[in-house]
Subunit: 165 residues, 2 copies
């Protein structure tokens, strides 16, 4: 009986894979947007993301999140195709749990830092192509964070029970 219908575990593995694909797509667009964001101010100086430490931090979190999710996507595809986990035993569950947890913290910190600075840069000056692209990038990063946070909830529930109660 159990063999003929997909188990709850297979459903959540496919859902996890979908979440990782979505995260990778959103982070890739966020990366492109912040990388191409630039504006020339009144004095003729070109302003771009690398002029701000905060945006450099944001771009670092995007790249780390992107690489991590790509790696996990590879693992998930391997698991779905072969039916075996790359990391067997408790190690795999702990890697998923701590990986998703730490990367989701990293992604929201990058997004919050980017948003905070963009809001203050935009105040009192008309919106320009730089702040527009920076805030779009921070928004996409926030969406990427949300997918990773949902994935993190899944991998928390999938933890083998360690404590009594």
């Amino acid at each position: 009986m159990a063999d003929s219908s997909p188990s709850r575990s297979t459903v959540s593995k496919n859902a996890l894979l979908l979440l990782r694909v979505l995260t990778v797509v959103f982070l890739l667009i966020a990366l492109i947007l912040i990388a191409i964001a630039s504006v020339t101010d009144d004095t003729g100086t070109k302003i771009k993301f690398s002029d701000f430490y905060t945006y450099r931090y944001m771009i670092s979190t995007i790249i780390i999140g992107f690489v991590y999710n790509l790696l996990q996507m590879g693992f998930s595809i391997f698991t779905v195709v072969s039916g075996n986990r790359v990391l067997s035993g408790d190690g795999g569950y702990l890697f998923d749990f701590f990986g998703d947890k730490i990367i989701s913290y990293l992604l929201i910190s990058g997004s919050a830092a980017g948003f905070g600075l963009t809001v203050e840069l935009s105040r009192g000056s008309p919106s320009n192509s730089f702040t527009d692209k920076a805030s779009a990038s921070a928004s996409l990063l926030l969406i990427g964070f949300m997918f990773t946070a949902i994935a993190s909830t899944f991998t928390s529930f999938a933890l083998p029970k360690k404590t009594d109660n």
Copy 2:
């Protein structure tokens, strides 16, 4: 036998209580520091946290984290003293899990936004009493986040097992 020695579950309940007390203390100092931070600039204008949306957001996350941890502290003390949980059954575990998870995301977002803005405000100008206090507040908020993130790991491991591996 099991009754005479503290169970793993009692140890982690006490550790959780300690983490919440520490979070409350750090958030309280962070709150005081950002609230009293002010500086008078060259033109005689007084600058304080409420002039920046980002610091207002940061102070909101501190207050929400403070209230949540105070509430959880009350629950923990009740549990330790009476031996009963306030919320019985799975509801209590889910409340702890999602509460810690969401509040820890909120705390790191406030800290990251505060840090990002403070770093940019401090660049090119000598450090002043306002940016010093703001960055101290963001640091304490980051420490408060770390305690909540550890608490969140505990409450994830305490989740009743929901999925078959």
